[in-house]
Symmetry: C2
Subunit: 577 residues, 2 copies
């Protein structure tokens, strides 16, 4: 395909709102163009990559008896009310009324739609298993869309849903999709990890995320140095490398002391010369799920952690059986609950639930805020000075912690979540009465799983992982074209005819070629070739041809070969292997 | 592909809301399933047809240097306000606000989006021509969706947009798309007509519709018996086969007479013994475009036609230069304007614009309502008794009228509009400042055209044209599978192994096979095969195999061949040619 027949316009500068490299490169290469925040037109080059990735997905899923359908983008309110998610999903679900005053939403996910699709058809255990998938536009009303296709509003997803007779069969379907995803991301050729994760508000009990490793990733991952343990930090169990157990043997008397200007753990630690992991901090949250927007009551509780630890909102949510992580109280709300501003608060005398992280259990005679501004207590002890509602693992695990597998320690990575597999159980089928008759003729709820791949997000993740200072380095599997021919002397007939012949020869081998036939300087053609990132660049110019030479450059390594025109096709084929 | 690996559930009965045969068959075959009125999930079989049709479209467009992109479904309000269509499009455009209180709509068409896409890139005449297309979900907020995918809310369209330097070049692009559409619909194998049509409120001056002929079609077409003239009735010029010119030579005196109980043209004609085409009827409209919902003022005018003719609202709209056809007044509004109820109204004494159809020009001493209930005037004459604001072709042409080409007469057909090509001119580029610099360095608005194919609508139109009493007869080009194998004795290993071998042999020839491997009665398998409509059915059973025979049935003709198993593949190939 000739450049002159396409619509490719590159930019020297990225727009101000592009923060990460992949977003900058996508815009600079004309792969995407913003129509509104988080809403992009995909140019021809990106559409080519998109179709290739879609086909890889289709091939791997069809191989495993998954059935492609296409479900609507616009869903009726009544459908989402059947599962309660009309309210549960919050404002991320874009809701509206049509001209007939009927409620609709733009689907952010399709559990309800697919369950409705199958529940009328599936009658008996003989109809199962089924795995139904689609590749479709989805919409999430992000407040602050950012990072291009990574956290946009409109995006393309592949979502699949499995239907089985019992948990054992459902977990087989889960494993089959897990394998399919491995095959898909292996074919992409990206560096990724499969990690344990939280099931979020989609329900279910078992889930893995497929995370492409990249420094700009929004997810923090912890991976074992010795075992195959890998988890999103949200769910990674926190185990101190060296457990801290206080050596003190007696419980000393509680004592209040003035701490003017000591608000933070760091300040307290420095001034009192007590290590941060022997101090205790008190955080305040509200357990009001906010499902009823009219009920603005705060239902406060507090969480105690060692000063050196961070609270893990997902662990907190799961301990409390909530759908979404609880919100922290504002300073004013903290004051009205505790009588002091944050920095001087503690558990003593509070009349609200008190949850503590396991790390605090090893402490004795510790320091907490006195619930009086500029005062703290010392020699505080659990049970004697306050009652614990419940203790558990509520802190973030971190690099250097002991691996939960028992082998090795945890190492930190950043990841971009590109896929997930969930075992859902009967959460949706029970609410929506999606049942089958078992061998005894008894109605049973269908066991479900759901499986997503962020299709457009993956394309950007590939760039976030595969680039250099000059631009994108597309993985061969999803490169818009395999080869980028820069013709240096387009007005010389002899040069153009060699270029055309090489293009035709390559295309006859199913190698896709973009030929830059613009009347531009060589330097600007090379810059664009590097920016756009096709795996192989071929340079054809009069000077080279006079020496019977054509230059072939591998984008990734920048290694240059100068070969006889008759050798070009074979060389390109070997580079693309 | 085996039936047992898919999700196909057929229905004996169509739902009550399915009025036309194609809608009934789509639902009965499980090709579509309703999620909400006008919003459907497409089953695997329809997705297969959809992908085939999409690929035919892509091949023909790519051949003609069209560039595929993907534009968003959700558009910002400000974009549509640039062209005024935020208001002009009326309630069919689904508008909503997001959580940040910003206005958005679900795109019903993409002129604004594509013009925005190119206006930042196209700088000079050297950047043109360009033709940009996408295949994307679209949404129209139909008040009463009906006919399945034919007049649904959510649907798939292919839309293309051409950009040129001047009208001559734009018309070349138009012709190229016209040719592409011909190639596409020829490849589909449907019986269709290309007709002249109205440009609607999308703007522009030249347009053709591609209409699949079917009795249930919503469009009335008139096609010449002798020339290649074909037009949507909306725009077909009306020319009487035998022009009617009154033979009366003198203008008689106006006379009022009582006409109790004579309200309709038919009643008047019968009672007064005057042919309907010598009577004149008066219709009342309002020219309030309704763009400002707060302005409910009626701006009335009337239209005079012969009693035998029907008004053509599109011609009326075009004569008045309106964006949408004018609305008829209610009976009460007519009374307040004329002093009488409809049936007794006429032009005499009215103080509003009076438009008359050319057909009335040939009449003398005619009868009209007297604007007094139960009274008419006779011997009314143009100019003497009332002033004409403007005359022109305002009536519907009809079967038997003279062909505007001068050759032959017009014949009526019903059609389903599946494609259209529009020459837009600079309507959008001027409003949106999409300009290029010409050879003299002067900024010029880009000349545009737009081109649509209703992708899902075409699939249904194919069924509406290709069915029999037993079900669908898919055109080979877009059949979900080419061959439907009914295995009659699935529990006999010998039978299944022959069936599997034939399926494999066919698939090795790139022939797609659906094998019904269900444990069902032969009759029910045959019924489903007829309903689902693959072009060729193969019946494999023990009885036949004992005679070394396999039955091959052509779905369209129902012609049956019994052949040796070794001959099946060749026979199928010849049937699919």
């Amino acid at each position: 395909m000739k450049w002159s027949k396409l619509h490719i316009y590159t930019l020297k500068e990225a727009p101000a709102d592009a923060e990460i490299i992949s977003h900058k490169l996508l815009v600079r290469g004309g792969f995407i163009k913003k129509l509104a925040p988080g809403i992009y037109t995909y140019g021809n080059l990106l559409v080519r990559s998109l179709r290739k990735f879609e086909n890889i997905i289709r091939e791997e899923l069809n191989k495993r008896n998954c059935i492609e359908v296409l479900m609507p983008v616009v869903h009726p309110q009544a459908l989402w009310e059947e599962t309660g998610r009309w309210n549960e999903m919050g404002d991320g679900l874009l809701k509206f009324k049509n001209r007939n005053d009927q409620g609709f939403c733009l689907a952010a996910t399709h559990e309800e739609a697919v369950t409705d699709y199958v529940r009328h058809d599936i009658k008996s255990y003989r109809d199962l298993p089924k795995n139904i998938y689609q590749i479709q536009t989805k919409y999430r009303d992000e407040i602050r869309p950012r990072f291009g296709l990574m956290r946009g509003r409109e995006f393309t997803m592949k979502d699949a849903y499995s239907f089985d007779i019992n948990p054992e069969e459902a977990l087989k379907s889960y494993q089959s999709m897990y394998d399919a995803y491995k095959a898909i991301f292996d074919r992409l050729g990206l560096n990724y990890r499969i990690v344990q994760a939280d099931a979020g508000n989609i329900g279910g009990s078992q889930t893995h995320e497929f995370q492409v490793l990249a420094d700009a990733g929004e997810d923090a991952l912890l991976v074992s140095t010795e075992s195959d343990f890998a988890a999103n930090v949200e769910v990674a169990p926190a185990i101190d490398a060296v457990p801290y157990i206080s050596k003190e043997t007696t419980l000393k008397d509680k004592e209040k002391f003035a701490t003017p200007n000591l608000k933070t753990i760091a300040q307290l630690s420095k001034s009192l010369k007590v290590p941060e992991n022997e101090l205790v901090k008190t955080l305040f949250f509200s357990s009001n799920e906010g499902f009823n927007p009219k009920d603005q009551t705060i239902k406060p509780f507090c969480v105690l952690l060692r000063g050196s630890d961070e609270v893990n909102p997902v662990k907190l949510k799961n301990m409390l059986g909530m759908v979404n992580p609880p919100l922290m109280l504002t300073d004013e709300e903290v004051h009205s609950v505790s009588g002091a501003m944050p920095g001087s608060c503690g558990p003593v005398g509070l009349n609200i639930p008190i949850y503590i992280d396991n790390g605090v259990l090893g402490l004795k005679n510790f320091i907490v805020g006195a619930n009086e501004d500029n005062f703290h207590f010392k020699n505080i002890n659990i049970d004697r000075d306050f009652k614990v509602t419940k203790s558990g693992d509520l802190r973030m695990a971190k690099e250097g912690d002991k691996c939960p597998s028992g082998k090795g320690t945890l190492k930190s990575y950043r990841g971009i979540e590109v896929g997930h597999v969930f075992y859902l159980g009967t959460k949706y089928s029970q609410k929506m009465r999606a049942q089958y008759l078992d061998k005894n003729g008894k109605a049973q709820p269908i066991e479900m799983g759901c499986y997503g791949i962020g299709v457009t997000r993956t394309l950007q993740a590939a760039i976030e992982q595969c680039f250099d200072v000059d631009g994108i380095i597309w993985p061969k599997s999803i490169a818009p074209f395999h080869v980028h021919i820069c013709v240096l002397d387009i007005n010389k007939e002899a040069v153009m005819s060699v270029a055309e012949k090489i293009m035709t020869d390559l295309e006859n081998q199913n190698i896709e070629v973009l030929m830059d036939d613009r009347d531009e300087r060589p330097g600007s053609k090379f810059k664009d070739a590097d920016l756009l990132g096709m795996p192989v660049r071929i340079v054809i110019g009069e000077k080279g041809l006079n020496n019977n030479e054509i230059e072939v450059v591998e984008r990734k390594t920048k290694s240059v070969s100068k070969v006889n025109p008759t050798q070009v096709v074979e060389l390109v084929k070997s580079l693309l292997k």
